[in-house]
Symmetry: C2
Subunit: 356 residues, 2 copies
């Protein structure tokens, strides 16, 4: 039976990925030298297509790391001497916070109840943090933050670096990269690719901070510090032999999405999300976890199913549809349905029909 | 025309890799959850087959990182408070040394002239280093160190951690993992796989040191510190979503080599190396760079071709055979021929026939 992964990531691959891998093998992408012109061309192709897709300003830098988890690590290491501040509304925001703590920073946080957004107007950020971290789309709870709130934050704290986790919202989320400093995602979510590649997008303010830390002899790490990443990125290369296949495939998927049209992708994402939320709003037993419509994620849809979770997952998997469990303390009573660009409306419809 | 990559890595893939990738896609390896039983099974399969292949004691830990470069970084971070010592005989040993310097350690080194081995009996290591780093097979120069010299080092410095770079010698090199503390490689060399996975093998002494550093509040990094890696590894998992496909493929290649027989692989490697060295020893114009037969690498074969480098590379590439240039300051006057398990004797023979 055909399986379709509606899991939050790793998730379903784009159907075209198999062919792209075949092309990569035919073109010896996995054998070429990572300092060769062939690699430089692949690197440029991927960055150009990604920048086009997400409207990333040309002045921003795109770095390839190994995971979003590594991105958190490197951001803290390269931009914080002492103080960071974290908006925590779930397990992944908490991880960003804990990364700062483990790296010995004075990290402060504001927390919400899981499933709720933030009351941005009434949160006071004290002590002028050097870095403010915000999980735009919290994969554990299915809460999404309106980018406008993030832009306001940048306005209020122009000297702080604003880092935005878009792991499960990209490429759907339409961010204005001129109004934040740094964003990151990994490719096994909305980009429908094999895991093993994290993408970090930063502006000049982040680079300046890294150079400042370096000048003060603060440990910013080694091969993946921003300076090393930058020095290689301007040559369209990486510090180490990277996941060349991953970079190649990301370029191909971005090219494909550019051809299809990002607006169309975004509209379709909203249509599918509406279909799911409307269905579960009207459902007798299963309800959306996030009550406030304004903060409901379009890409990670958490549904409360209570003690019937096993039954629900089985009903779906019997038809070849795999969804995620809840995360952390929500593990046994929720399902999570990912709604990424490769997920088809007809298959979303099937979910509603199976659970009617 | 068919191309064969005799480059030091990334290099030729095993011909079976294409099928393994096909299997992985059929089995949804790139879509499964990295906390699932399916992933645990893949992880166990790979570690079991790797341990069998390289005779790694069951008490040792195998960690999956993103590159050998990252391995250097994490080893320094997790085992050194103050002092490391480095045997430097080429660019990659120098990189290990520089990693320690960049991470703020007091790093000492002994250097040889490129292309020569070390006079182990007459090198005095002072100041009791916490970590001694040795590049067993130096990819830039084609110099290999006899493992017996490394075991002697461990005997003389039982309290120091001995870290061995086997990036381009594994799986050929037959190391006794009970006589060293730590070794690492990446998969795009002798394991003939797409780049994007580093493998770090450590013993209990390394773990104890990491716990000690942690207890002293020394920064050992975050998601990829040894403690986090260990805590996940015992559950057959990783700290972050890893390169699942890479881990799967490594297991498949190890299984294949186990079936074929590692002794056979090692004998064939020596036969092919002998063929190349004998040919170039007798050549009128082109000579092996490493003069001392005792330290000639069997897997990375550097040949001095002087100003005819372009011509030599072209003669080979016209027949579909791609070799590497020299490295660093040897870039324009040498070629490097990799001799890994996937490289066939008949193709090695072709090299000698083309350059006759």
């Amino acid at each position: 039976m055909k399986k379709i992964f509606f899991t939050p990531g790793p998730t379903e691959l784009y159907p075209e990925v198999k062919n792209y891998i075949g092309q990569a093998l035919d073109e010896h992408v996995c054998s070429i030298n990572h300092r060769s012109n062939e690699f430089v061309e692949i690197y440029k192709f991927t960055v150009d297509n990604l920048k086009k897709l997400l409207s990333i300003p040309s002045a921003n830098h795109v770095f390839f790391l190994s995971s979003a988890t590594e991105c958190m690590d490197r951001i803290i290491q390269n931009t914080v001497i002492e103080k960071s501040f974290h908006y925590v509304n779930g397990a992944f925001a908490e991880r960003f916070y804990k990364t700062a703590v483990e790296l010995g920073k004075k990290a402060n946080k504001v927390e919400t109840i899981y499933g709720e957004g933030f009351d941005f107007m009434n949160i006071e950020i004290q002590n002028d943090p050097e870095l403010i971290c915000i999980t735009q789309n919290e994969t554990s709870t299915g809460v999404a933050i309106n980018p406008e709130n993030i832009y306001c934050l940048k306005k209020s704290f122009p000297d702080s670096i604003i880092a935005v986790d878009i792991v499960t919202s990209s490429p759907y989320v339409n961010l204005d990269y001129d109004k934040i400093d740094c964003a990151f995602f990994s490719v096994q979510k909305g980009f429908g690719l094999p895991a093993g590649l994290g993408v970090l997008i930063i502006n000049e303010q982040c680079m300046k901070k890294a150079f400042y830390l370096k000048s003060k002899n603060i440990n910013i790490g080694c091969f993946h510090n921003f300076i090393s990443l930058y020095e290689n990125a301007v040559k369209h290369q990486t510090s180490e032999t990277p996941n060349v296949l991953g970079i190649y495939l990301l370029g191909k998927v971005c090219e494909q999405l550019n051809k299809y049209g990002i607006d169309k992708v975004r509209n379709e994402t909203e249509d599918k999300a509406d279909m799911l939320y409307n269905f579960f709003e009207a459902h007798q037993h299963f309800k959306p976890f996030v009550k406030d419509i304004a903060v409901r994620s379009k890409t990670i849809i958490n549904i409360e199913v209570g003690e019937r979770q096993g039954e629900v997952k089985k009903m779906l998997s019997d038809e070849g549809i795999l969804v995620g469990s809840g995360y952390g303390m929500l593990k046994d009573t929720q399902i999570r349905i990912a709604n990424f660009p490769m997920h088809q409306l007809k298959d979303v419809k099937s979910i509603t029909e199976i659970l009617k």
